[in-house]
C-alpha cells in the first residue's frame, strides 16, 4: 500500500479513536441536565468522567495535528472552510473543559449554575457539530479549484447534515449512558440503564435512515459496491449496535460499552472507507476534491510521521488503557474529587 493510503486510514483511525473515547464523556455531558437531578447525582456524573475526559480530548488534538502533518492542504482547506462550525466546537470545548475544575470551587448556586450550563452546551454542541461536519464532508463541500469555500455556514445544516448530527449525538449519548451504568450504582445507575434502553430503538432507526439516505446523498457506497467484502464494516457496526442492546439487557456493562465503542468506530470507518481516496470532496467539481494523493505531505514527512505514530500511538493506548482500568470502579460518593 502506498504511504498516502496508509496515512489515509491512520487519519480515519485517529478520528475514530477520538469519537470512541471522548464520545462517552460528551454523551454524559449531554445527559447531564436529564440525569443530574440533584447535586449529588451531578457530581457523580462529573466524577464518572473526571479522570479520563482530558486524555480523551487529546485524540482530537492529535487527529487535527496529524491532518496538518500528513495532509496539510486538507488541514488548511477543511478548517478555513468550516471556520464558523469549528470555532463553535472550540468555544464549546473551552467552556466545558474549565467547568469541571471551576464548578466546585465556589459555593454559590449561581456560579454552579453557570458551569452546569457550560457542561451541557459544551458537550452537546461538539457532539452535534462533529456529526454535521462529517456528514457534510461525506456528501461534499462547495470548495472551488483554489480550495476556497463557496457556501455559507447555514448550508451545512441541510437534511443529511442534520441527520448526521443527530446520529452522532445519539451514538455518544448511548455510549455515555453505558459508561454511567458502569461507574454508578443506585438510582443514577438505574436511570442510566433505562435511558440507554429508551435511546436504543431511536438510535437504531436513525442509523438505518442514515445508511439509506447515504445512498442518495453521497457516493460513499461506490467503494463498497466495487469491493463488496467491505460491507463487513457495516455488518460489524450493526453487530455492535445490537450487541450493546443485548449486553445491556444481560447487565454485562463492560461488554455493552465495548459493543458501543465498536459501533462508533465502525460508523467512522463506514464513512472513511466510503470517502477513499477523498479526504475533503468538493461538491462543485470532483476535480477540485482533496484526496490522499493530491493533498499529502512529502514522502519524507509521511515516513517520519509514520515512525512517530507507530511508536507513540501504541504507547499512548497502553497507558490510557491502564488509566481506564484504574478508574473503572464505581464512583465512591464519600470521596469525590470534583
Amino acid at each position: 500500500m502506498e504511504l498516502q493510503s496508509i496515512w489515509f486510514f491512520l487519519w480515519g483511525l485517529l478520528w475514530a479513536i477520538f469519537f470512541m473515547t471522548d464520545g462517552f464523556d460528551l454523551g454524559i455531558g449531554t445527559l447531564y441536565p436529564i440525569l443530574g437531578k440533584n447535586e449529588e447525582k451531578k457530581r457523580v456524573m462529573i466524577n464518572a468522567m473526571g479522570p479520563l475526559w482530558d486524555g480523551n480530548q487529546v485524540w482530537l488534538i492529535t487527529a487535527g495535528g496529524v491532518t496538518f502533518a500528513a495532509f496539510p492542504i486538507v488541514y488548511a482547506v477543511m478548517f478555513s472552510s468550516l471556520y464558523t462550525a469549528l470555532m463553535l466546537i472550540l468555544f464549546a470545548l473551552i467552556i466545558r473543559g474549565v467547568s469541571f475544575e471551576f464548578r466546585g470551587k465556589l459555593d454559590d448556586p449561581r456560579w454552579i449554575k453557570i458551569w452546569d450550563t457550560c457542561i451541557f452546551v459544551g458537550s452537546f454542541l461538539p457532539a452535534l457539530l462533529f456529526g454535521v461536519a462529517f456528514a457534510n464532508i461525506f456528501q461534499g463541500i462547495p470548495i472551488d479549484g483554489d480550495g476556497i469555500f463557496q457556501g455559507n455556514v447555514l448550508a451545512l445544516f441541510n437534511p443529511y447534515g442534520i441527520l448526521g448530527g443527530i446520529l452522532f449525538v445519539l451514538l455518544f449519548v448511548q455510549h455515555g449512558a453505558i459508561w454511567l451504568a458502569i461507574k454508578t450504582d443506585g438510582e443514577l445507575h438505574e436511570n442510566a440503564v433505562r435511558i440507554s434502553g429508551k435511546i436504543w430503538p431511536i438510535l437504531l432507526a436513525v442509523a438505518v435512515i442514515f445508511l439509506v439516505y447515504t445512498k442518495f446523498a453521497t457516493d460513499l457506497y461506490d467503494n463498497y459496491l466495487a469491493n463488496p467484502v467491505l460491507f463487513l464494516v457495516v455488518l460489524l457496526t450493526v453487530a455492535g449496535l445490537i450487541g450493546s442492546r443485548i449486553f445491556m439487557a444481560k447487565q454485562e456493562f463492560f461488554k455493552a460499552w465495548f459493543s458501543s465503542a465498536l459501533t462508533i468506530v465502525g460508523t467512522t470507518f463506514f464513512g472513511v472507507i466510503g470517502l477513499f481516496p477523498n479526504l475533503f470532496p468538493s461538491s462543485l467539481d470532483p476535480a477540485y476534491s482533496l484526496t490522499a494523493f493530491n493533498a499529502s505531505s512529502s514522502p519524507l514527512t509521511l515516513k517520519i510521521m509514520l515512525v512517530v505514530v507507530v511508536i507513540f500511538v501504541p504507547v499512548v493506548l497502553a497507558y490510557q488503557i491502564w488509566a481506564y482500568n484504574l478508574f473503572k470502579t464505581k464512583v465512591n460518593t464519600q470521596e469525590m474529587t470534583y
Binding site: 502533518a69 488541514y75 478555513s80 464558523t84 499512548v316
Partner: protein, 451 residues
C-alpha cells in the same frame, strides 16, 4: 479592518492569553513533583501539605491553560490556511509530534494524579506528578522547535510551490531552537518561582503557617535564582542567534538605524520610524552591541536603513518589548540574589517579603514582552525571509473573523477573571490545616538551620 488584521489580532490575543497560564504549568509542575517526591522520601507531612496546596493552585491554572491551547492547534488552519498549506510539511509534523509524544502524557496523567490519591502507591503517585511535569515541558520542546523554524527556517527545500522537509534532524536540533527552548522554559520557571515566593511572602507577612511557607519560599528561591541566571545567559545567546539569523529583528530591538562598526547599546531610545531615526537616545555604550552579538567590539552591525522599509518590523514595539524584558530579567536576578542572603531570616525582612508579594505580576509581564519581541520582531514575515504574514491569511470573510475575535475576547476575559480570582481566592485562603501544631514539629527547627 480586514480578515488579515483581525486574524493577526485574534492570533495575538489567543496566544498571549494562553501564555498567561502555560509558564506556571511548566514551572509549578516541576515544583509540585519535587514536593511530592520529598514527601515520599522523607515521610514529612509538610511536604504532602505543600503538594496539595500548590497542587490545587496548579490545577486551576492548568485547566485554563489546556482549554486555551486547543484553539492554537486549529487556528493555523482556520485563519492561516495559506501558511498551513505552504509549510505544513514541516510545521504540521512538529505540532503532531507534540500532541502524540507529549500532550497525551500530561493530559492523561493529570486525571490520574487528581483522582488517583487512594488508588496508587505513594511512590507511583509521585511518579505520575513527574510524568505531568515531563509531558508539559516536552510539549514546550516541540512547540518551540516549531516557532524556532518560523524564526529561522532550516532543513527544507521549495518544491511544487511549498516548503518541503529535507532534513528533519536540522529542524529539531538547530541552535535557534535549543536556545529558544531553554530561554523560554527557564523564563517560565522564574515565573513559577516568583508565584510561589509571592504567595508565600503574603502568608509570612501575616505570620501564618510560617513553617510551611518558609519551606515553600526557600524551595522556590533556589529554583528561581538558578532559573533567572540561566534565562539571562540564554537570553544573551538568543541575541547572538538573532543577530546571525534575523538582522532586521536585531536592528529593531536596538533601534539601530545606521549600519556601523562598534555599534552601541543605548539604555533608552525613542524610535521615530517615519524619519528613520531615534528622536531620543540616552546612555550609549559604544561597541556594546557589536560585542554582545558578535563577540567582537569592532564588528559591523547592519542598521534598519540598510533594509527596505517593507522588510522592517515595527521598531517601537520591538525595541520597547526588548528593553522591558531585559530590564525585568535584571530585576529577577537582583531580587533572588537578595533573597538568597535573607533566606534564613525571611520573617525579619517584611520589606523584602512585601516586594516579593507585589512582584508576582512582573515575570508575567516579562514573558509577554518576550513573545511580543519574538513575534512582532519577526514581521513582516510569518516565516522569516520565506513567506509574509500578509500572504498567509485564509481566504475567509472578515465578518467571520470579527465574530470569532469578539467571542474570544469575551470568553477569554471571563475565563481569565474567573481563573485568576479562583487562584487568588485559594492562595489567600492558604492550606487546609491547623497551624498551631506545626511549630512543635521537630522538622521546623531542622529546616531553619539547614542552609
Amino acid at each position: 479592518m480586514d480578515a488579515l488584521f483581525l486574524s493577526r489580532l485574534q492570533f495575538a490575543a489567543t496566544t498571549m492569553f494562553h501564555f498567561l497560564f502555560v509558564p506556571l504549568t511548566l514551572g509549578l509542575s516541576i515544583m509540585v513533583a519535587w514536593m511530592e517526591t520529598r514527601y515520599v522520601k522523607t515521610g514529612d507531612e509538610t511536604y504532602l501539605k505543600m503538594t496539595k496546596f500548590w497542587g490545587k493552585l496548579f490545577l486551576i491554572n492548568f485547566a485554563v491553560g489546556v482549554v486555551t491551547g486547543i484553539t492554537l492547534e486549529f487556528q493555523f488552519g482556520t485563519n492561516w490556511s495559506i501558511y498551513s498549506a505552504y509549510v505544513g510539511d514541516i510545521f504540521g509534523s512538529l505540532l503532531a509530534i507534540e500532541a502524540t509524544a507529549a500532550f497525551f502524557l500530561e493530559s492523561t496523567f493529570i486525571g490520574v494524579w487528581i483522582f488517583g490519591w487512594n488508588k496508587l502507591s505513594k511512590k507511583a503517585h509521585a511518579g505520575v506528578a513527574w510524568l505531568i511535569a515531563i509531558g508539559s515541558n516536552f510539549s514546550a520542546v516541540w512547540i518551540l522547535i516549531a516557532n524556532a523554524w518560523m524564526q529561522s527556517p532550516v532543513g527544507f527545500t521549495i518544491r511544487d510551490g511549498r516548503a518541503e522537509l529535507v532534513d528533519f534532524f536540522a529542524v529539531i536540533t538547530q541552535k535557534f531552537a535549543v536556545v529558544k527552548f531553554i530561554h523560554t522554559v527557564t523564563a517560565a520557571y522564574v515565573l513559577a518561582a516568583f508565584f510561589v515566593m509571592g504567595i508565600s511572602a503574603y502568608h509570612l507577612l501575616k505570620k501564618r503557617h510560617v513553617h510551611f511557607f518558609t519551606r515553600s519560599f526557600r524551595a522556590a528561591l533556589t529554583f528561581g535564582l538558578v532559573s533567572s541566571l540561566v534565562v539571562f545567559i540564554l537570553g544573551d545567546l538568543n541575541g547572538v542567534v538573532v543577530a546571525e539569523k534575523q538582522p532586521t529583528k536585531l536592528a529593531a530591538m536596538e533601534s539601530l538605524w545606521e549600519t556601523q562598526t562598534r555599534a552601541p547599546v543605548y539604555l533608552f531610545t525613542w524610535p521615530d520610524e517615519k524619519n528613520e531615526r531615534n528622536s531620543i537616545e540616552i546612555g550609549a555604550i559604544p561597541g556594546a552591541l557589536s560585542f554582545l552579538t558578535k563577540h567582537d567590539i569592532n564588528a559591523e552591525i547592519r542598521g534598519l536603513r540598510d533594509f527596505p522599509p517593507d522588510e522592517r518590523p515595527p521598531v517601537l514595539i520591538t525595541s520597547f518589548a526588548f528593553k522591558g524584558m531585559v530590564g525585568l530579567g535584571c530585576v529577577f536576578i537582583l531580587l533572588t540574589v537578595i533573597g538568597w542572603f535573607k533566606r534564613n531570616k525571611l520573617l525579619e525582612s517584611p520589606k523584602y517579603l512585601k516586594i516579593m508579594l507585589y512582584s508576582i505580576p512582573l515575570p508575567y509581564l516579562a514573558v509577554q514582552l518576550g513573545w511580543l519581541l519574538t513575534e512582532v520582531g519577526r514581521q513582516p514575515w510569518i516565516v522569516y525571509g520565506l513567506i509574509r504574514t500578509s500572504d498567509a491569511v485564509s481566504p475567509i470573510a472578515t465578518s467571520q473573523v470579527a465574530v470569532s475575535l469578539v467571542g474570544f475576547v469575551v470568553v477569554y476575559s471571563l475565563l481569565g477573571i474567573a481563573g485568576f480570582s479562583l487562584i487568588a481566592k485559594y492562595a489567600i485562603k492558604g492550606p487546609d490545616f491547623d497551624d498551631t501544631e506545626e511549630d512543635t514539629q521537630p522538622g521546623a527547627a531542622l529546616d531553619a538551620s539547614a542552609a
